[in-house]
Amino acid sequence: MAKRKTDYLFRHRHIFGIEQLSVDDIGHILSTARSFKEISERPIKKVPTLRGKTIINFFFEPSTRTRLSFEIAAKRMSADTFNIAASTSSTTKGETLIDTARNLEAMKPDIIIIRHASSGAPLLLSHHVNASIINAGDGTHEHPSQGLLDLMTVLEHKGRIAGLTIALVGDIAHSRVARSDIIGFTKLGATVRLAGPATFMPVGIDQLGASVCNSVVEAVDGADVVMALRIQHERLNDPLIPSLREYATFFGVNRKVLAGAKKDVLIMHPGPINRGVELSPDVADGPGSVIMDQVTNGVAVRMALLYLVSGGEKGGEKNSNG
């Protein structure tokens, strides 16, 4: 990574998306995450950095891994964490997001991590609370911590992002991960190619810096990284694809398709995988698969985000890792 400028200061109180982050911000988050990753390797996986901080996991959509990853990240830094799931929160009683937010605010949390089905919900929340907001996925907008952990994983394995070719395959239109990845990888100088049925390509996506390919084979050709995106079963209700079987046949990532990729291609997936649909099982568990590294790095990235939005570096304290 480029060397951090000495006068650099992380200025974001909230993390809504990769779009708001500069190249320096991303580099700083990733180097912070790298220094925190080691904590998870220790026998005692806990540092006192966020002791006394109250962090609320406010999840309006079901999530196992992201919620757990944030919770582990917070606990490894000694913060107090609380989970609210949509089904148990007041929103089911007709309370609006803002009403609920104000009630949470009254209990003085330091950070609210929100996942919500509506794009823009984290931004709306930030207008009504003093706590820092971290977007854990909003609608089909962004999933910044996922985008960052993807960058971290590629960086770990390839030593660089600039100049790499990243192929994203699948449902781009309905994927917040796709948006965060496209923005993040192109910001850092990678070439991003997209492939999937036209029904999964949002209007004007090329204007975000990615190029749309006619086939998976074309997208994967010479690629350093192939990221398959999850097909959500509810999409089958809209007339987007006829069946998962047909999808797997024509747009699934399998060994044959990967023949044209670089020999050391990385296989990634934001999970959970529909095995045999987006990824054939041999590829998902094959030699290039770094899917579990993504999960491990997720904790480190989220530790970094929690640390940075809570102003961890203010007062001259500097992270040793550069």
């Binding site: 794009s119 823009g120 931004l123 962004e142 948006r179 209007v203 004007g204």
Partner: protein, 424 residues
């Protein structure tokens, strides 16, 4: 007999009589009277030098929310907002609770409107409950006072029903106002489909959702020979369709709203729910085509689609927010910007905002002919102001223009010669 009121030294802009010159207007007993040479001693004289004197503005597309949603707007507050914006008459859409699909609701609205600050012309529903299944009773509603028919907000999906509605409406000399939207294409959409919707992760509504429906209405108007009016045109494609239909002689008129010639979908950035309406704000090429269509006559009318909503519908997640913005108090200044840019003349502005809606709806007004009812708007084209929350007369504040520096304003609104708004 009331005393004579004289608007002195104003610039009279009256396209119905091809007038644009400095002249006095004499008003007595609520009507425009012939100017004399000797001014009676007891006459009230208002010096309006430097101001424009135009026929009272008419907004043929508003939502007054009464009956049913009086917390958003009432006929009283909505017509007060109209008067403050220079309007002397409004046509109110039937999507109230209950829907104005029968003579009783029409009568209720007109009873409430009797004491209001502007003339209220109710628009009845095309179908019962605006459900798009059965025709409403047009004859009964016409007798009760509706001036047109529309299922605004609930586009008529069934083409056969729309055809029959046009034909049956013509038997009662009622105009059909079409909310042109192909719902299967716009379903789940909450903004224009574009790079902005992609970037924000919001479901988009393509231009085709409007133009497919506009094309259907034009084809039906051609088939039946009946007039149709296309509401809130937002796309360049719709403009092209209407332009070519007019050339073929199809009986079609059309309106757009100030937000479509002022804003683009870039206004949605930051998930601003006050930039959410249906049809949605479009892209710059569409905005340009709308502006050209106002100039060349393809679009006949500027109407606001004034749609009051409270913070309960607007201060929520973008995809859950209600569609629509208030517009009565900003329509004139936003249109005056087109005049200042030289896109349309002063006279054309009066056509778009008064004469054309009067003629299309077949209601009085739109001219300053001697003997006409004295519905008159006096405009100060120079007056600059910041449109602030505090100055909003409407009960709702859902406007994307709050904080904008605007120029030009109604300073006196006369309804049958009596001021309904006065800041002279």
């Amino acid at each position: 007999m009331n005393t004579l009121l004289i608007l002195q030294n104003g610039r009279l802009i009256d396209p119905a009589n091809s007038l644009d010159r400095q002249a006095d207007v004499w008003i007595q007993d609520g009507r425009i009277v012939q100017s004399g040479s000797a001014i009676p001693a007891d006459a009230t004289i208002l010096d309006v030098k430097g101001k424009w004197v135009v026929p009272g503005l008419i907004d043929m597309h508003v939502h007054l929310r009464e009956p049913g949603e009086e917390y958003k707007e009432t006929i009283e507050s909505g017509t007060q907002a109209a008067a403050a914006g220079g309007f002397t008459a409004v046509a109110c859409m039937p999507n109230t609770f209950p829907v104005n699909d029968n003579a009783t609701v029409t009568g209720y609205i007109l009873e409430k409107a009797a004491q209001s600050s502007a003339r209220v012309y109710p628009v009845g529903a095309i179908s019962q409950g605006s459900k798009g299944v059965e025709l409403a009773e047009y004859g009964e509603m016409k007798r009760a006072g509706v001036v047109a028919l529309s299922d605004d907000g609930r586009p008529v999906a069934d083409s056969q029903l729309m055809r029959r509605a046009m034909e049956y409406a013509s038997s009662h000399h009622l105009l059909i106002i079409s909310h042109s939207e192909e719902s299967s294409l716009s379903r789940n959409g909450c903004m224009n489909e574009s790079i902005v919707s992609t970037r924000l992760g919001l479901n988009g509504i393509p231009n085709a959702a409007e133009s497919i429906a506009v094309f259907r209405e034009l084809a039906l108007a051609e088939l039946t020979g009946v007039s149709v009016h296309i509401a809130h045109v937002s796309t360049g494609d719709s403009v092209e369709l209407i332009r070519s239909a007019k050339r073929r002689g199809v009986h079609v008129t059309a309106e757009t709203s100030p937000h479509y010639f002022t804003l683009t979908d870039a206004a949605v950035d930051g998930y601003d729910t006050n930039a959410k309406m249906n049809p949605p704000l479009r892209c710059e090429p569409d905005r340009q085509k709308i502006r050209m269509a106002l100039q060349d006559g393809t679009l006949d009318v500027i109407a606001t689609d004034h749609a009051p909503h409270s913070i309960l519908q607007k201060n929520v997640e973008f995809d859950h927010a209600a569609n629509g913005i208030i517009g009565l108090e900003t329509s004139l200044p936003l249109t005056l910007a087109l005049v200042r840019e030289g896109l349309i003349s002063e006279s054309r502005m009066v056509e778009l905002m008064s004469l054309a809606p009067a003629r299309i709806l077949g209601v009085p007004g739109g001219s300053l002919t001697v003997g006409d009812v004295a519905d008159i708007t006096v405009i100060d084209p120079e007056k600059k102001f910041i449109y602030s929350r505090e100055m909003i007369v409407s009960k709702s504040e859902n406007s994307p223009f709050i904080g904008w520096q605007l120029q030009g304003k109604a300073v006196l609104t006369l309804l049958a010669g009596k001021p309904t708004y006065n800041e002279l």
